[in-house]
Each structure stands twice: as structure tokens, then as C-alpha cells.
């Protein structure tokens, strides 16, 4: 079992409170003035050289936001956020819109290298088979600094670039789809994001095209007191397929930082989108100081018949996680999937789950959620499965399992099920279990150390979900889970 061995070696090499990605990069940044106002919205839009309609769209959202209140229904507790005490835009000063890698500040290139994300294509290519290559869009604070393999993707007709670039190069596509899944009026954080989003990734896969490689965005928050508001828009046109992976890290800081992203997916007829997230934002220290507030709205629209959207998430980071990647199953015979592993340790709080909204006929959805709580953390699964009147023969299968490590943590499951059609079949299974002392002793009696035993038991618990991840990330995710649980026993 090499993955477990590797995990353990990695765990050994770090201290309990040491977050591997906690370093900061020293680059000169350009910051918008602190706080939020119409002027700031205009400033961001101007920085990006956006068309007039986009500015209007943002301003509408901003005005709407002023009338909204922060949601309080989630099972998370934190001091009130002062939205005027944040920077809403931070870009490396040297060259906010580099045309090639040579124009990027070497310190930033070094940062991604340290994170294990090579941005130079020749480095990616070294020793990697073509089918295993991954194109990366790297977002540093508020801006996208590089996107790899663009030319090769363009040959297949796939557009993969930062959303700022898409607004300049493909405004008609952006205008057609942005806000069509998560409207500017959706919720407090999504509305805020609509007003101030600074960058993110844009993907368009033309009809009938199977995207030739995995696409990936790597988000890095570096600057202090900065909120990151990225916006991702992925459109899979008729009969196309794309697999996309998102990764994120941030430096260790004593104060909390806000991350309020919006991700919109659109799958047209017969198209399929597979969206995977490995979320490893800084979780704060074991006492709950610092860490990222991850308030994210992710939603996919299976707009066409027989389309399919699949969310897979491995959530190990953030002080607070509030996210519900959802599927609107609009097209007849469309399918939605949600596979989730949410690990919480220390003082982390997670309130996460999904919504499967069945609108079309014969729509199917599947939810597999594995929550692991350790330390003093609280881990809540919150999910909605609903069938519209018209959604005849809708089917859902939900399985929510919670695993507790130690006796100071909590696991909560809050499922909502609503069916307005008699022909819908919804199944819900849930279990809560504990890593027992018996299991630990049994493994240790066979020679495994405490860390090895925990890694083995937990990897067994999450196996069904890990298998959904692209191969390269499965091992990575396994390691990440083990590291996140370091110090959770004994």
C-alpha cells in the first residue's frame, strides 16, 4: 500500500500545526483602496478593461447586495465580517496582464513551483504521457497569471482562459451565459461576487468535442486582508465532454480571509462536465485563529437533454466552509452527481452538501457524502433533493456517512427531500460511526503506527468517493486527508 506509506512519511515530515502551503510570496502588489463602494466596482471593471454592459451588470449586483443580509441558517459561527475592512482587488504590480511566462514576476513562478504546479509547458511535459497532461490556469490573488497549453487546446476548438480575457476576446459567449445559472440576485455572497469578482477561469468546449486534456485552475491567495472573489464559467456545448479540477491554498495568517467564489456550469444536450475540487485553504491553527472563510456558490445547469454534471470535492481546508455544489436537472434524462469528502479537524467548521433539483423527466441524481470530523470541529451535511411536478420518474440515491475521530467533534446531517410528483423515487441512507479504539488497537497490533492506522481506516471510509477523482489526484487527495487528520488522536 504505497499511498499509505507515502502519506505517513509526509505526515511525519510536518508538525501538527504546520500547514505545508503556509508560506507567503514577496511581490509588490497593486491594491485597490480598502472597502467597498460603487467606485471600487468601477475601479475593478476599469482595471479589467471590461465592456460597458459588464460594468452595468456589476453595479446592478452591487446595488442589490446593499439590500441583502448575510445568511445565518448554516451551522457555523464566526464574528461579523466588516466588508469595509477588506481589499477587493490585489494584482502583482510588475505586470498584471502578462502575455508570456517571461513577463511574470519570477517570485510568482517560484510560488507555483513550490506548490507543485509547473507553469512552464516544457516542465509539465517532462516525462508525462500526452493523455495525462493537464492544462492549468493559475490565479494569484485577484488575477490570472498564466494559462498553459492554450494553443494546443485551441487546435481542438476549446477555449480555456481567464474570465477577464474571455470578456475581451469572447464577450458574446460570456454575455450569453454569465449569471444564467447563478443570477446576480441569488444570495448574499454570490451577489457580492457578481459585483467585485476579479478573475477566474473560462472554459468553452464546442459541440461534439471531447476536451483533449484535464483542465485545472489553481487559486492562491497571497495578499493580506484581501478577499478573493473568483468567477468560473464552464460551458460544454452539445455532445462535448470536459473534466476540470480546481485546487486552492493560502498562506498562514492570523486574521481570517474571505473567499467568496461563484462557479457556473452549463451542459447542453448530451454534454458532460466533471468538476473536481481539492480544497486546501489554510484552516487556521488548532485554536481557531486565522484561516479562510470559504463561502462559495457552485451550481451546474444540465440544460440539455441527456446532459450530465458530476461534482467531486475533497474539502480539507478553510476555517469555515459554506458550499453546496448543486445540479439543476432541467433537460429530460439528465443526470447529476455529487461525491464529497469533507474533513474537519482542529476548530474547523464545515456546512456543506448539495442540491439536486429535478425539473426534467427521467432525471437521475446520486449523492455520496463522507464527512470526517476530528479535533473540536463541527461537520454538517446539508442537502436538498427536490422533484418538480413535471419531473416524472425522477430518481435519487443519497448516501451520507459520517465518521467521528475522538470525542470532542460533531457530525450533523440535515437532508431536505421534497417531491411534487408521485412517480419520483428518492432513497436516503445515512450512517454515523466512530473510529473505534478497537479498530486502532487491531491495526496497531498488526504493526501499524497510530498515524498509519488512522490513514488506513479513513481511506477505507472514503474509498467510494476517492475513486471518482481523476487518477493523478486520487493519491494526492489521499495524502491530503491523512495530513489534515494528523494530531487528531492521542
Amino acid at each position: 500500500m504505497p499511498a499509505v506509506q507515502e502519506t505517513v512519511e509526509q505526515v511525519r515530515s510536518i508538525d501538527v500545526d504546520q500547514y505545508k502551503y503556509g508560506f507567503t510570496t514577496d511581490v509588490e502588489m497593486e491594491l485597490a483602496p480598502k472597502g467597498l463602494s460603487e467606485d471600487i466596482v468601477r475601479y475593478i471593471s476599469a482595471k479589467k478593461g471590461e465592456p460597458e454592459w459588464m460594468l452595468e451588470w456589476r453595479l446592478d449586483a452591487y446595488r442589490r447586495w446593499l439590500t441583502l443580509r448575510e445568511p445565518e441558517w448554516a451551522r457555523v459561527h464566526y464574528p461579523k465580517i466588516d466588508f469595509q475592512d477588506l481589499y477587493y482587488y490585489a494584482a502583482p504590480k510588475s505586470n498584471p496582464a502578462p502575455k508570456s511566462l517571461d513577463e511574470i514576476d519570477p517570485a510568482i513562478l517560484e510560488t507555483y513551483k513550490k506548490l507543485g504546479i509547473p507553469l512552464r509547458e516544457q516542465e509539465v511535459l517532462a516525462g508525462v504521457a500526452p493523455e495525462n497532461r493537464i492544462a492549468v490556469d493559475a490565479v494569484f490573488d485577484s488575477v490570472s497569471v498564466a494559462t498553459t497549453f492554450k494553443d494546443e487546446l485551441a487546435k481542438a476548438g476549446v477555449i480555456f482562459c481567464s474570465i477577464s480575457e474571455a470578456l475581451r476576446e469572447h464577450p458574446e459567449l460570456v454575455k450569453q451565459y454569465i449569471g444564467s445559472v447563478v443570477p446576480t440576485t441569488d444570495n448574499f455572497y454570490a451577489t457580492l461576487n457578481s459585483a467585485v469578482f476579479s478573475d477566474g477561469s473560462f472554459v468553452y468546449v464546442p459541440p461534439g468535442v471531447r476536451c483533449p486534456m484535464e483542465l485545472s485552475t489553481y487559486f492562491r491567495i497571497n495578499e493580506k486582508n484581501t478577499g478573493q472573489f473568483e468567477r468560473t464559467l464552464i460551458i460544454a456545448d452539445k455532445g462535448s465532454y470536459v473534466s476540470y479540477l480546481e485546487g486552492c491554498t493560502a498562506p498562514m495568517r492570523d486574521e481570517n480571509q474571505l473567499h467568496a467564489a461563484v462557479v457556473e456550469l452549463v451542459a447542453l444536450e448530451d454534454a458532460e462536465i466533471k468538476y473536481s475540487t481539492v480544497q486546501n485553504w489554510y484552516p487556521g491553527d488548532s485554536e481557531g485563529r486565522g484561516g479562510i472563510y470559504n463561502f462559495v456558490t457552485k451550481r451546474g445547469d444540465c440544460r440539455g437533454a441527456r446532459s450530465k454534471i458530476s461534482w467531486t470535492q475533497v474539502e480539507t481546508g478553510s476555517a469555515i466552509t459554506w458550499k453546496y455544489p448543486s445540479c439543476i436537472l432541467r433537460g429530460d434524462d439528465s443526470q447529476g452527481e455529487f461525491y464529497s469528502i469533507a474533513v474537519s479537524n482542529g476548530a474547523q467548521q464545515v456546512d456543506s452538501g448539495t442540491k439536486m433539483i429535478h425539473l426534467g423527466k427521467n432525471t437521475r441524481s446520486r449523492i455520496i457524502s463522507k464527512g470526517i470530523s476530528a479535533g473540536k470541529s463541527q461537520n454538517t451535511y446539508r442537502g436538498l433533493v427536490s422533484a418538480h411536478r413535471r419531473a416524472t420518474n425522477a430518481k435519487n440515491f443519497t448516501n451520507c456517512d459520517s465518521l467521528l475521530i475522538g470525542n470532542k467533534c460533531g457530525a450533523h446531517t440535515v437532508p431536505y427531500i421534497e417531491s411534487k410528483t408521485a412517480s419520483a423515487v428518492f432513497e436516503h441512507e445515512a450512517t454515523t460511526s466512530k473510529v473505534s479504539e478497537d479498530q486502532m488497537f487491531y491495526c496497531m497490533q498488526r504493526g501499524l503506527t497510530q498515524e498509519e492506522a488512522i490513514a488506513l481506516i479513513v481511506n477505507g471510509f472514503v474509498k467510494d468517493v476517492l475513486q471518482q477523482l481523476p487518477m493523478e489526484f486520487m493519491v494526492e487527495a489521499q495524502k491530503l486527508i491523512a495530513i489534515s487528520l494528523e494530531g487528531s488522536v492521542g
Partner: protein, 253 residues
């Protein structure tokens, strides 16, 4: 030097005051099969847990030397790597963890602690398949999660499989015969007998003579009130079977 030497071992449950082991003395020689018999509540299972290092017990006095080294301060995994194996009375289920994954992790964990490299996959598979065949363990059982959905007999055979793969110096079998039908009992006994060697010792904890018909002990110890109260040859087990414990335990008390 004796393989196992227990001197004046005194132990209690961590969260209770009641002593369960009361100055127990026991010596097990290399190559020996030592049976420990005794009535319910005499402390037999506690002895096996304390030797293996289960956290729920506090050792308040005494020592246990394995190959001359006191093991009572070591973590359970370190004791395992030094060659101590416990076949559990109630083997534990680990959902989602495949048998092969578990067996390989255990072998490699012990090899690593003993300064050896990892076992190669072909070597491992050959080893497991060979032992599994001897113990009547099907490929299907090897594909399942550790002990999940196993019958009582399958669980016990699985313990013996682990024992033969890990090849310990000292194997403690805690009521391995409980819940076994006669056919399964024979398979388990054959597995143990095949492993008898001049360098290895077995401590066989049992209530019944029946198991000892198949695994012939060199010595039989009777335990009562947290102590060894009588020791003798195989005939002692037969005597107990005929007369019960009351006689011996009564005298000792």
C-alpha cells in the same frame, strides 16, 4: 533465556480501581505451546491485552520480558514488530479497507520497523495465496473488506492467516476456538501446528480441552484471580475437563 518471562505482573482497568492481574508470574520457553485455562473472569483475556499493549489497562507493577526486553513501555505496534502477535477473540471489522491492502500494510509496517525494504507485489501475492489455500480461505474472502461480512469461523481463520503471514516469535491465541465448528477448529489447529518451530512459542488461551486435542500443549497453566495457580503437563487439562475448576481454584484461594 526464556522467550517470555512475566514477573509479578499487576494490572487494572484504566478507569476502575479493581485489580485484574495480581502479581502474575509466567515463563514460556522457545518452541513451547503453553495453554492457559481458567474460569470466566480469571483475567485470561486481560493478560493477552496487557501483553499486546491495549490502552484501556494500567500496569501498576511488574514486568514482561520478550527475549529479555521489557515490552510493557512499548507501543502496540512496536511490540508487534518485535514478534508478538495476538489472535483476537473477536476480530475487528474495518469497512472499506481491502484484506490485501491491510495484509500488505501490516507486513510492510513490520518490515520497515525491522529495517527491511517493502515486500514486492508478486512476492506478496504468492505468499498470501499460498497461505490462504492452506487455511481454506477463498479468493473472494481476500477481496472483501477486513472481517466485514465474515462468519465467526472465517474471522478466526483470517486471524490465523495473518499470524502465518507475520510469522511472529510469540503468538497469543485468545479463545480462538470459541464459535468454531469441528471442521473449522481442525483447520485452525492445522494452521497453528504447521507453524510450530523451535524458535516460536504459542500461548493458547481456552476454556475447553477440545482445542487441546488438536493443538497438543507442552504445558498447561491454570489461571484464577489474576494469577497462575497451578501448572502441569497436558494431563492437567484432562483433569480440569473431568473435575472442573472448583477444586483447584478453591485450594488456591
Amino acid at each position: 533465556m526464556s522467550l517470555l518471562e512475566i514477573k509479578n505482573l499487576t494490572a487494572k482497568l484504566a478507569d476502575e480501581d479493581k485489580q485484574i492481574l495480581n502479581g502474575l508470574n509466567l515463563t514460556v520457553e522457545k518452541g513451547q505451546v503453553a495453554a492457559i485455562m481458567g474460569p470466566n473472569g480469571s483475567g485470561k483475556s486481560t493478560l493477552s491485552y496487557v501483553l499486546a499493549g491495549r490502552e484501556d489497562y494500567d500496569v501498576t507493577d511488574g514486568e514482561a520480558l520478550l527475549d529479555g526486553e521489557n515490552i510493557l513501555e512499548l507501543a502496540p505496534d512496536e511490540r508487534a514488530a518485535k514478534g508478538l502477535f495476538l489472535a483476537f477473540q473477536y476480530p475487528i471489522e474495518i469497512p472499506g479497507v481491502g484484506q490485501m491492502t491491510f495484509l500488505k500494510a501490516a507486513i510492510n509496517a513490520q518490515r520497515k520497523k525491522n529495517g527491511l525494504g517493502e515486500i514486492s507485489t508478486p512476492e506478496f501475492i504468492k505468499l498470501v495465496n499460498g497461505k490462504a489455500k492452506e487455511l481454506g480461505i477463498s479468493q473472494d474472502m481476500l477481496r472483501r473488506s477486513v472481517n466485514v461480512g465474515f462468519s465467526g469461523g472465517e474471522k478466526k481463520r483470517n486471524e490465523i492467516l495473518q499470524m502465518s503471514l507475520l510469522a511472529p516469535k510469540l503468538a497469543i491465541l485468545d479463545e480462538t476456538d470459541s464459535g468454531l465448528d469441528i471442521d473449522a477448529l481442525k483447520i485452525v489447529a492445522d494452521g497453528v501446528n504447521a507453524m510450530r518451530s523451535p524458535d516460536r512459542a504459542f500461548v493458547v488461551i481456552t476454556h475447553y480441552q477440545r482445542l487441546l486435542d488438536y493443538i497438543r500443549p507442552d504445558v498447561v497453566h491454570v489461571m484464577a484471580g489474576g494469577q497462575i495457580v497451578k501448572s502441569g503437563g497436558p494431563e492437567l487439562a484432562l483433569e480440569l475437563e473431568a473435575n472442573g475448576y472448583a477444586d483447584i481454584v478453591g485450594k488456591a484461594a
